[in-house]
Subunit: 101 residues, 2 copies
DNA sequence: ATCATAGTTCGAAAAAAGTCGAACTTAAAG
DNA sequence: CTTTAAGTTCGACTTTTTTCGAACTATGAT
């Protein structure tokens, strides 16, 4: 059984956060999550191999943007929406801004 | 006489913007500019050689964050505050957040 | 003209990030 | 127990960033 580590929201570094969002693939993932709620990895394949996406999810988790939970054989990713909005008010709005998909 | 190119605020890409802010040196520069207004490069040496800083200023300009104007022998950098706030409301607040220097 | 000051550009080297195939793990289904 | 589905980990490779010395440009002062 695999569990993931997630930083406490208080420990989230804005610099790392910006770095996570600076990749177009990851930004697209975050936007998808913001729009459609929690999704498993399979639903977020951005036309890339699983190993590539796995890497991006790791970065998103480490940055504090996404929380991943295991449910059966699926790994479900969710935006840490409430926490993020509390710690970085305006961030989510900024990300969703006139956004592509 | 050297002039710099600055993207129109409408052309600024949020992804590039995040990338620019993901470097601690550059984030510190932006925070300094937000606090103290326009500064020349000499005032923003973050304990790095001039060539290194020159590179960072180039990135900040290309991202649309900073406007550099030449005044005599000084190159003065200013945050594109009003434009940025209009295009990305909340961004500046986010950057200044509980911020270090 | 000469010199000093402020900053850029160039080029090379080092470090960090992104990409992806192959092998592996875990859980569920048959 | 075997197979399948969903993802991860590992390792290699490529691309991008960062860093900085050395040489250069432009302005202002002497």
């Amino acid at each position: 059984m695999e569990r993931y580590e997630h930083p406490a929201i208080a420990d989230v570094d804005i610099c790392r956060l910006f770095a996570a969002l600076s990749d177009p693939v990851r930004l697209a993932v975050v936007r998808n999550l913001a729009r459609h709620g929690a999704l498993n990895c399979a639903a977020l394949t951005m036309d890339r191999p699983r190993s590539t996406m796995s890497h991006h999810f790791r970065v998103l988790r480490a940055a504090g943007l996404v929380r991943t939970t295991v449910s059966g054989t699926e790994h479900v990713n969710a935006l840490r929406k409430t926490e993020l909005e509390a710690r970085f008010p305006g961030l989510l709005r900024l990300i969703l801004e006139e956004g592509g998909d």
